[in-house]
Structure formats: C-alpha cells, structure tokens
C-alpha cells in the first residue's frame, strides 16, 4: 500500500512538472503572443492540480488539503484575469501576426467602430 501510494505520488509529480516543461516549450515555439498565451495557462491549471495532489498524499496530512485547495482555487480565479489583460492589450497594440489567424471576427467589429468614431 505504501509503495503503491508512493508510486502514484511520483507519477503525479513528474506529470505535473511535465506541464511546466510543455508551457516552456510552447512559449518558445509558438508563432505569436496570443498563441503563446495558451501555453502559459497550462502549468497553472493541470500541473499544479497534479503537484498539489501528489504533495498532499505524500505528506499524509489532511490539514494541508484546505491550503492547497485554496492555492489552486485562487489560481483558477486569477489566471484568466492576467490572460485576458495581456491578450487584450496584445491585440490592441497589434501584436498579432495576421498570417497566423485563420479568421478574425473581431477585426470587422473594431473597424466598424473606428469608422463610426471618425464620423463623430
């Protein structure tokens, strides 16, 4: 039983760290800012869930579970905020490579809005 739990912990920790590696590789290989953003949300959601579960099992302490749940929950609340802010200002300051987009339904909206602004 002990050995079985320890193997689970090992698998969880290694997979969780693998998520960070994927995030790093994604940051390096994706073509533009908005695409890289998808890589950056990875270690936060899945990686930390796995690492926290592994840590809680390894330390065998129920007192740790609320703290880890809090840390994960707080991440779920804050990670989208920064992703949205960076993505929005990246889009507005034209950091998007046009050729990496298949379609852009926001562009027409922005163009219409700026045209009506010009009229005013």
């Amino acid at each position: 039983m002990e050995l079985f739990l320890e193997i689970i912990v090992a698998v969880l920790l290694v997979t969780g760290s693998l998520m960070s590696l994927i995030a790093g590789v994604g940051l390096l290989t994706f073509p533009d800012l908005l695409t890289r953003m998808h890589a950056a949300t990875k270690p936060q959601v899945l990686g930390f869930l796995l690492i926290f579960i592994g840590l809680a099992i390894h330390l065998r302490s129920w007192a740790l579970v609320p703290v880890l749940a809090l840390a994960w929950g707080v991440q779920l609340l804050t990670a989208p905020v920064s992703a949205h802010m960076i993505g929005r200002s990246g889009y507005r300051t034209k950091h998007v490579k046009r050729e990496s987009l298949y379609s852009d339904e926001l562009r027409t909206v922005v163009e219409n809005a700026s045209r009506s602004d010009d009229k005013d």
Binding site: I22, F30, L34, T35, H38, T41, K42, L76, P80, Y102
Partner: protein, 217 residues
C-alpha cells in the same frame, strides 16, 4: 457604457456608483455572506487550524476587511445546484486534460505553423455573472481565451487555438455553448435553468422520435 439598455435587466450587477446620487453602492449583509464565509474559510486554511476560536477571530477580521474595503455588490442568481457544480468540475478537469495533450502536441510538432482564429460567440444569457463564469472556464481550458467582451450583447470574442477551418470553428462555438449550458445548470437563475432544461428535453424528444421512425422503416 453610455448606451446601456433601457430596462435594467434582472440580476445585472449595478455599477459601483449610484447614478442618481453619485454615492457608492454598499452591499447589504444578505448579499455579502458568501464572501464572508469564503474569507473565514481562507483564514482557517491559512492557519491550518479550524478550531472555533480561530474561526471566530477570522470572522471578526472578515467583517473588518469588508467594512474597510467595500466592493460593489455581486448579485448572485439565488440558485445553486451542488450536483451540477460537481459535474461541471469533473467535466472541466477532463477538458483540461484533453486540451493540455492537444496543446502539447501542437507545441512539440506543429511549432511555428500553428494557426488559430478569433471567433465571436454570442451567449444566450444576459447575466454578467454567467458571462464571467463562462469566460473564466474557457480561459482556464488551454486552447481558448477571451480577448474582448461586449457586455451589452453578452458576446465573447475569443482566441481559439488550432481552429483552422469552418468545421473546427463551428465545433468550438458549440463547445462554448456547452460550457454555458453547464454553468447555467450549476449556478444560473431559475428561469435560465428552466429554459435550458426545456431545450434539452426537446432535443432528446426529437432524437427519440427520429430513432422510432428509423425502427419502423
């Protein structure tokens, strides 16, 4: 912001300033008890101590914090279904795992050739709470995140990874509506919940009807 809809819609969050008097809206204790409970639990979790004395002290601190740093009131829908919340969490984790594998594949093998789209999804709901929750959930699932929100029409503009043809775009749009349906089932208001259930039963009936006619043939 200037062109707000004429009728203030139900459960829409009021802005921080009251329009008539220009004063800050203060939330009532009835609106704020979920925040207070969250703060008390957070205090207990940080100390790793859920004894009564610690929690009471935490409650005092929570009241102090809420009084000193007021936030605009968050109007909840008044309905919560814990079973659907649980289902939402489980479905969310499955989606995160699947999407993580996909992003990993793209990062390692597609590299610079990765393409994506910015798509507009108009949600059915007009509650700010649901729009925010849907935006959060889909940003947390790797492969999609919100670039811009149009609050008046509850339209989300999102960047969707690897949506490189019309079929994939349609599929991702259906997925966002699936998220919306699940969030409404979990925390939406009663009217929205009933509407979602009605549509669901209609679809199921139609599928069942088609199946029966298929058997007759």
């Amino acid at each position: 912001m200037s062109k707000r809809t004429e009728q203030p819609r139900d459960q829409r969050i009021d802005d921080a300033l009251d329009e008539a008097s220009g004063k800050r809206n203060r939330p009532t204790l009835k609106q704020e008890w979920p925040l207070l409970i969250f703060l008390v639990l957070m205090w207990g979790a940080l100390w790793q101590d859920f004894s009564a004395g610690n929690l009471i002290f935490g409650a005092l601190l929570a009241l102090l914090v809420v009084a000193l740093f007021p936030l605009p009131p968050v109007v909840l829908s008044g309905r919560i279904n814990l079973w659907y919340c649980f289902l939402l969490l489980g479905w969310f984790i499955l989606q995160v795992v699947a999407a993580s594998v996909e992003v990993a594949y793209l990062a390692f093998f597609r590299r610079k050739k990765t393409r994506s789209s910015i798509i507009a999804v108009r949600l059915h709901t007009d509650s700010d709470l649901i729009v925010t929750a849907v935006g959060h959930v889909l940003t947390l699932i790797p492969g999609s995140f919100v670039v811009e929100v149009d609050r008046r029409t509850s339209t989300l503009y999102l960047h969707y990874l690897n949506a490189t043809n019309a079929i994939k775009v349609a599929r991702s749009r259906a997925k966002i509506h699936e998220i919306e349906r699940r969030v409404i089932m979990a925390i939406g208001s009663r009217e929205e919940y009933e509407a979602v259930r009605k549509i669901r039963t209609e679809i199921v009936d139609r599928q069942r009807g088609r199946g029966e006619t298929g058997e007759e043939q």
